[in-house]
Symmetry: C2
Subunit: 147 residues, 2 copies
């Protein structure tokens, strides 16, 4: 069971449940945060670079965060960090796709000055065909076990 930075190991892996993203979800997120035609309107999307309606990349990012939070990779500690590296959108997320994420611990660096460490988990989101659609590597901060 993971309770502290010290319980994490390089190569440790995580997997989330699946989440369906509906046409309505896509349009609702886009209307609020990314109002571009290929996220809002089927006809306009046909002639766009995405060749059909697709979720905003930021919508996919938000759903991936939701799935990561539920995994609780840091046990009782929050998913809380400084930022994200290597955020890439790999393929469109279409209406009614179901996605899940897998993660692997790729860096563990104890702080020299504070009772905590930096944890990088490389997360990849896959659709129902097993195709990777999105990847991101957040820079998390996790407390060390008190001595």
């Amino acid at each position: 069971m993971i309770r502290w930075f010290d319980d994490l190991t390089l190569g440790m892996r995580f997997r989330s449940r699946t989440q369906r993203i509906t046409r309505e979800d896509i349009k609702q997120f886009a209307a609020q945060f990314d109002p571009q035609p290929f996220h809002l309107d089927e006809a306009a999307a046909e002639h766009s670079p995405l060749q059909g309606l697709a979720a905003s990349g930021w919508h996919t990012a938000a759903v991936a965060m939701r799935l990561a939070v539920e995994i609780r990779p840091f046990g009782p500690h929050p998913l809380f960090g400084l930022g994200v590296d290597e955020l890439r959108w790999l393929a469109p997320v279409r209406p009614d796709d179901t996605i899940y994420i897998e993660g692997e611990v790729v860096e563990l660096t104890p702080s020299r000055t504070k009772p905590q460490g930096v944890v990088r988990i490389k997360w990849t989101a896959y659709n129902q065909h097993g195709e990777p659609v999105y990847t991101f590597t957040p820079i998390g901060i996790v407390p060390r076990r008190p001595e």
Copy 2:
């Protein structure tokens, strides 16, 4: 006026309108995408690393995207890209903060094989005190002017 990749120049700058983020906005986004106590509950947030209720970093990212879309830095072409580099959260976004973004073109690389180019704009979001709260550098793709 910007219509093509060829109209962009290094150092070109952009600035958005301001957007207020309310307590209700923060809780609503968090309930859907980042259900951690310090984004949902004032009392729990007091004792968290954020020392008070604050927006999910992904909420700030989504609002920044909204503001960037409205700027239309690529003229008639969409904000569409491969991913994002150097995404960092610099300070908490609190209830009723108003944020705006500024951007600067930091890279222009014409494709050798396609009639398009890669454009990197470094965007920074500031709050009403002028403090930077968030920065991200998306990797955009913009068509070249037809010959």
